[in-house]
């Protein structure tokens, strides 16, 4: 396939990785541990949207392949996963924090939650793959290049959410408090910031973003119960590339991961492209473990 065409696919894939990685890096930066349930929250998000579509479908929004109900579905799925993530913090992680458990213990707890979430998705929706719509999405041709309207939608929504996140972090008091907590939680506490509330808000924001990423993922692929878990490695690679806790770095990292993964098929068989995020991750850990852009935001 043409190299430029591969870059276009890479940008689409990278947008989804970046969208998921922005939430992952926020929790990593503020809660200080790697949340291994992030991938399965993505799965839950895409399937929740599927359930909403089963109730409210509406006409297909030309030129996209998606039904109008998907707009509502993204909002419902995002809110549901946000609520779940915040509740899990209340139920589990906050207890561990108060007890002074090691951060690495929380990482194991998150893996337990990941397994439970995946089981719940299978129990509700069964083991078979699903799709949002049966229709095909005809490509637009620009010279030799082909772009699907759905792909533009994915990139567009990622940019919109990135801008919203930027405004939230830099133009609101909550954002300021979040940045302070990420920088030094004890100092923030002393300064009168309710850091527990900040942590809840962080979970909620990360939950909304990952659910949106799940829906975007399922727009260009099938809904599978293990899709999110397999997406963990690219997202973590993006987080490390961009610097832990840095959402813009994570977005850029996501694009780097997506583009390198897709363009690699120009040289190597496509079966091996799954190894690219891992290679990037290891290379980054050797060369510059603080990330390309540093950890502050």
């Amino acid at each position: 396939m043409d190299f430029v065409q591969l870059i276009i696919i890479g940008i689409v894939v990278g947008s989804v990785v970046g969208l998921g990685a922005m939430g992952l890096t926020l929790t990593f930066g503020i809660l200080k541990f790697a949340n291994f349930a992030h991938g399965d929250m993505m799965t839950l998000g895409m399937f929740t949207a599927f359930a909403v579509l089963g109730v409210v479908r509406g006409p297909t929004l030309e030129p996209f392949s998606i039904p109008a109900g998907l707009i509502l579905a993204v909002l419902v799925a995002g809110s549901a996963v946000a609520l779940l993530a915040a509740s899990l913090d209340r139920l589990i992680y906050r207890r561990l924090r108060r007890r002074g458990s090691a951060l690495i213990t929380m990482a194991i707890a998150s893996l337990g939650i990941a397994i439970m979430t995946r089981a719940v998705v299978q129990l509700i929706w069964g083991p078979l793959p699903k799709r949002y719509s049966g229709g095909i999405n005809p490509s637009w041709s620009i010279g030799e290049l082909r772009v699907k309207p759905d792909q533009l939608l994915i990139v567009g929504l990622t940019l919109v959410l990135a801008v919203v996140l930027y405004l939230l972090l830099y133009r609101t008091k909550l954002g300021k408090a979040m940045r302070a907590t990420a920088d030094n939680a004890q100092l923030a506490d002393v300064a009168g910031i309710d850091t527990e509330r900040i942590r809840q808000a962080t979970w909620a924001i990360a939950g909304f973003l990952i659910a949106a990423a799940g829906v975007m993922f399922a727009l260009q692929a099938q809904l599978r119960y293990d899709a999110g878990f397999e997406f963990l490695l690219p997202m973590f690679a993006a987080v490390i590339l961009g610097g832990i806790g840095n959402p813009w770095g994570a977005l850029a990292g996501g694009l780097i991961v997506g583009i390198s993964q897709e363009t690699s098929t120009y040289w190597i068989p496509s079966g091996f492209k799954a190894g690219i995020p891992f290679v990037l991750l290891i290379a980054m850990l050797i060369a510059r473990p603080r990330g390309l852009f540093g950890s502050t935001f």
Partner: protein, 355 residues
């Protein structure tokens, strides 16, 4: 042969097969063999996580590498439609040695760039290895026979006993291997070397201040654990005789060993063996009683047991973080026990390490 197949089909189709004495014996022998192999994996994980605090989320990758290495070393050259590398027709024991070395090598490759950094970086790096190895095994042409996998892997000492009695020999091999690995890891972790590992886990800065090169020790522990997991993978491959990429799932090969470790008690070798037995009984036993469960659970018994295993991990971390048998708060067996040991409260809250 036909008789054997008929017998198998009947035993699987007949829910009362456990009621017959022979059926119960057959199941128990197979179950204990599996648990022994899992317990070896968990002992390897105990060296990594229990003693050194290394979070390895790619256990199944080490297990898989061991299984494939031993199979490729002991199988004959590829024939017919099969296509795989090696096929050296070596003795099974050489295959096991190769499997342990392969596990150690993988640990070295992953550990070198990550173990000098934050603890969670290794966890992140290992989470994807298994998936990558499975993908490579599936898509590599002429590498390891893709999705068809490797079949006809020779059993250890298979020709020496009657076919019907071979299961007893398999059990004996698995139990002997478990004992060997148990003695090995006990000797290692009770030595001064093992004390350094625990010191690194509990307070790395202090260990460094005492002049220990903590990264080197961590790498050694990671490599030892990887070798043990590779060896367990080889035992598994020669026991079941056929392996393929879809068989090595994260749930079965990584998460189940973690559950066994956490339930049993990280940092206590006997505890994690007990954990393997208890969690193994739940995991492998639930499908047997599928028919007697309420329909809502029975039809999805494989998913429900997955859910409960995840729940078990979270519950133990919250309410019994030291597991069923807690780690002994004891520096060395040549020194007296800490008077009274940790209090019940400390055991439940898991706070006593810092005290």
């Amino acid at each position: 042969m036909l008789e054997a197949i008929m017998g198998l089909a009947m035993s699987l189709g007949d829910p009362t097969f456990l009621v017959t004495f022979q059926g119960a014996v057959n199941w128990s022998v197979g179950f204990l063999t599996t648990v022994a192999i899992f317990a070896i994996v968990v002992l390897g994980l105990n060296v990594q996580w229990g003693y050194t605090g290394i979070l390895n989320f790619g256990v199944v990758a080490f297990f898989m590498v061991g299984a494939y290495t031993s199979a490729l070393l002991t199988l004959g050259p590829a024939t017919g439609f099969n296509a795989y590398i090696l096929g050296l027709d070596l003795p099974v024991l050489v295959g096991w040695l190769g499997a342990a070395l392969a596990g150690a090598l993988l640990a070295l490759l992953v550990g070198l760039p990550t173990l000098r950094l934050r603890l969670d970086f290794l966890a992140i790096a290992t989470i994807g290895i298994a998936e990558i190895l499975r993908t490579f095994a599936r898509s590599g042409n002429g590498l390891v026979n893709r999705n068809e996998g490797l079949n006809g892997i020779p059993g250890f000492l298979a020709g020496t006993v009657d076919r019907g009695d071979y299961k007893w020999l398999l059990l004996a091999i698995a139990l002997a291997s478990l004992l060997l690995v148990y003695l090995l890891v006990r000797a290692a972790t009770e030595s001064p070397w093992g004390r350094v590992l625990r010191a690194i886990r509990d307070n790395e800065a202090t260990a460094q201040a005492a002049g220990k090169r903590t990264t080197v020790y961590r790498l050694q522990a990671f490599v030892l654990g990887g070798a043990i997991m590779g060896f367990a993978g080889a035992l598994y491959a020669h026991r079941i005789g056929a392996i393929s990429p879809p068989g090595f799932t994260d749930l079965f090969g990584t998460f189940l060993p973690y559950t066994m470790l956490i339930v049993g008690g990280a940092g206590n070798h006997r505890g994690v063996i007990l954990g393997s037995l208890v969690v193994g009984f739940f995991w492998f036993g639930t499908p047997l009683v599928q028919e007697s469960l309420p329909d809502a659970i029975g039809t999805n018994v494989f998913v429900w047991r997955q859910f409960f295993v995840g729940l078990l991990v979270v519950m133990f971390i919250l309410w019994l973080p030291k597991g069923l048998i807690a780690e002994e708060a004891r520096v060395s067996r040549f020194l007296p026990r800490v008077a009274g040991g940790p209090s019940l409260r400390a055991r439940i809250t898991g706070r006593f390490r810092a005290e």
